[in-house]
């Protein structure tokens, strides 16, 4: 294998880890309460702007920016849950879809109004430059995002499967009324789920901002990938999103290199549809 091809695959894996990172929040919300959050891409965007603000105001990088973004977005998540989701969940499915879609536009154009249409970036060396490992270039900022993606996935998985909070959250998602009879408050559990999901998404945004451009519309570009990752991985499955993200990243990179960049989406989406044909619940989703 040529060293360029190894570089393509490594690049694809790092890209895929990033896809997984910003998809985990989306899959969690779906698994917990069957709500598809169309504002998800715009949560990523908000995380990016928080990281940018932290850097502009305090002059520090993602090691401060990412936790701050996670906190800010967790707060946003709770506000969104109580202000919007709790009411629209009582309505028909269409109300949920349009509700979060409206939220997406509100967030996008609020940022547009506050920051303008200009593209912004963080300095490229904020996380450290590029490492050369046996001729393979590893960008520190992408590597960090990849490592955090693994940690977040692992953390969320352990939280849901090994802690009493996780059990309570799963109980609510299985049967809210029964959970309530057991003394669990569905409202608090769902608000916590939104806080965790939005917080993880904010963290993702802050890390992606170290190597991507920041613009009010960036949520559009990234949001679609998140939906594909989540449906391939299985709605509600956090480890599924990780595997799906890595798969999509590598398939994109290799097909863009071998067949051509303009065809990579055709390759990815045909494989995606074929896969769903045989396994509509996704890689690790439940029927």
């Amino acid at each position: 294998m040529s060293s360029i091809l190894v570089q393509v695959i490594v690049g694809g894996l790092l890209l895929g880890a990033v896809y997984a990172l910003f998809s985990s929040g989306l899959t969690l919300i779906w698994g917990m309460m069957n709500v598809v959050n169309f504002a998800h891409g715009d949560f990523v965007m908000l995380g990016m702007y928080v990281a940018f603000m932290v850097w502009t105001l305090l002059g520090v990088g993602p090691f401060v920016g990412a936790p701050v973004a996670a906190l800010v977005l967790a707060t946003v998540g709770v506000i969104v849950y109580f202000g919007l989701i709790r009411s629209v969940m009582k309505g028909p499915m269409l109300a949920q879809i349009l509700g979060t879609f409206g939220l997406a536009l509100l967030l996008r154009y609020s940022v547009f109004w506050a920051f303008g249409a200009n593209f912004l970036t963080l300095p490229g060396d904020l996380v450290g430059g590029t490492y050369d490992v046996l001729g393979i270039k590893l960008q520190a900022s992408r590597l960090l995002a990849g490592v955090v993606a693994l940690l977040v996935t692992l953390g969320l998985h352990l939280l849901l499967t090994r802690t009493s909070l996780g059990s309570k959250m799963l109980a609510v998602s299985e049967d809210a009324t029964a959970a309530q009879l057991m003394g669990i408050r569905p409202d608090s559990m769902q608000a916590i789920a939104w806080a965790i999901a939005a917080g993880a998404t904010g963290l993702a945004g802050a890390l992606i901002a170290t190597f991507f451009y920041i613009a009010p519309t960036v949520g559009e570009t990234l949001g679609i990938v998140a939906f594909v990752t989540v449906s391939l991985g299985g709605f509600g499955s956090v480890p599924g999103a990780l595997v799906a993200g890595l798969l999509i990243g590598v398939i994109e990179s290799v097909s863009a290199y071998w067949i051509g960049a303009v065809y990579k989406d055709i390759v990815v989406y045909s494989l995606f549809l074929c896969f769903l044909w045989f396994r509509p619940q996704g890689l690790m989703g439940k029927m």
């Binding site: 570089q7 694809g12 200009n118 270039k137 991507f212 519309t217 990938v225 863009a256 960049a261």
Partner: protein, 417 residues
């Protein structure tokens, strides 16, 4: 008594509506402008809007001091008794379908007498088709896709130089560089896959081929992509002498960042305007792309010159950004339209169309470095021209070619970061 009172009020209201309607129809000339004010090209659209607003302010106040630039020495349009220009902006959201709907709305509901815009070639294509159908003049200052003026349209006028003009400039520039001992045999072209990127790439390829220079590597990619590592690695693998890039802003920034991350520096990069001319590209990625060549038809000029003064006015509306080539071409397009309306002395679309056909502006009547403005039967300005500029310090483009217009010599090889 009460009924009479109400009837009186109603008739007074009706009269005032009629008066107001009549007054605005006589005094304000309504022009519709379609730009990407949201979506991924919003940065370019917002700068374009500031350029048009500057032009409107210059025309409507007419404070003079701008040399021979038409419409600048008296308030409003002289040919229409000092009528003011009123611009109705519409957002194309980066979508050809939305751009078309907005053009329709501007014509049928806002009753504009002419249209301008729409930045992206693919949207200019659809929006101008509506103008053609309704018989409304459409003046484009910035879209370069070749086929826009190949449709046999009677109401479409394009002021900017087009892809084939620039392909010839690149060709001559490369020949000149080759004569100076620089390797230019192996050319790669990286372009996005909408109307703009596809058509510019195919024109460059065919012009180069006609002149015995082949494009060794053609890399099309889907616009607004999330990742460009594979494209950069393809380039790194094939090692072209010259890379020509045709991209909008978001992708342009990604390419700049990815090239740095993968440590790839081609010996020479020529960027085809648009994304690489966006002030927000220069601010975010200029320092990563030092030595990048680009095309332009605009220079801000020395202190006190009309273009310098216009730039000062523009900066107040753009939040401090300088007038870039794209926004300047949009402004020039708008001036050409306004000058034609003034000369037509009427808001009748057919008379404006006739005036546009008779347009004959000289270089000193323009803000751009064109040899003039004169339309052929297809509606293309045959006197449009341009030059090669270089982002030598990563902050400002300077003219480097042809020699008689250059401020400094081209610096090679490409420096990057």
């Amino acid at each position: 008594m009460r009924l009479k009172h109400i009837a009186g009020l109603l008739s007074a209201a009706a009269m005032s509506v009629a008066l107001a309607g009549g007054a605005s129809a006589q005094q304000a000339v309504k022009i519709g402008v379609v730009f990407p004010l949201s979506g991924n090209a919003a940065s370019a659209g917002v700068h374009g809007k500031a350029a048009i607003e500057t032009a409107v302010e210059i025309i409507n106040t007419g404070s003079g001091g701008l040399g021979n630039l038409p419409l600048t020495s008296n308030a409003g349009l002289k040919g229409l008794g000092g009528a003011k220009i009123e611009v109705v902006f519409a957002d194309n959201q980066g979508s050809p379908a939305v751009g078309q709907n907005q053009a329709l709305r501007l014509i049928t509901e806002e009753k504009v007498v002419a249209l301008a815009g729409a930045y992206q070639s693919g949207i200019t294509l659809t929006a101008s088709a509506i103008a053609e159908k309704y018989g409304i003049p459409f003046v484009n200052g910035e879209s370069v896709a070749a086929n826009l003026t190949e449709r046999g349209f009677k109401w479409f006028f394009r002021v900017t130089p087009v892809a084939s003009d620039f392909a010839k400039i690149y060709l001559e520039f490369l020949k000149d560089m080759k004569a100076g001992g620089i390797k230019t045999d192996n050319v790669a072209i990286v372009h996005e896959n909408t109307e703009y990127g596809t058509s510019v790439a195919s024109v460059i390829t065919s012009v180069f081929k006609e002149n015995g220079l082949s494009i060794a590597l053609d890399i099309p990619y889907a616009a607004n992509t999330t990742d460009v590592q594979s494209q950069v690695l393809q380039l790194k693998d094939k090692k072209p002498d010259v890379v020509i890039m045709v991209s909008y802003t978001s992708d342009a920034i990604l390419y700049a960042k990815t090239m740095q991350a993968l440590d790839y520096k081609p010996p020479m990069i020529i960027a085809d305007n648009s994304g690489f001319s966006d002030p927000s590209f220069i601010k975010t990625a200029g320092k990563l792309t030092q030595g990048l060549f680009n095309r332009s038809s605009f220079a801000i000029g020395a202190k006190g010159t009309p273009t310098f003064l216009i730039n000062e006015m523009y900066k107040k509306k753009s939040g401090g950004d300088d007038l870039d080539d794209t926004a300047a071409r949009q402004m020039q397009g708008f001036f050409v339209l306004a000058e034609a309306i003034d000369r037509a002395g009427s808001t009748d679309p057919a008379k404006i169309q006739a005036a546009l056909k008779a347009t004959d502006l000289k270089p000193d009547q323009l803000i751009m470095g064109y040899k003039g403005v004169k339309f052929d039967d297809k509606g293309q300005n045959v006197l449009a021209a341009g030059l090669v500029i270089q982002l030598q310090d990563g902050e400002n483009y300077v003219p480097v070619w042809p020699k008689q217009l250059a401020k400094t010599a081209p610096a090679l090889p490409y420096k990057g970061w």
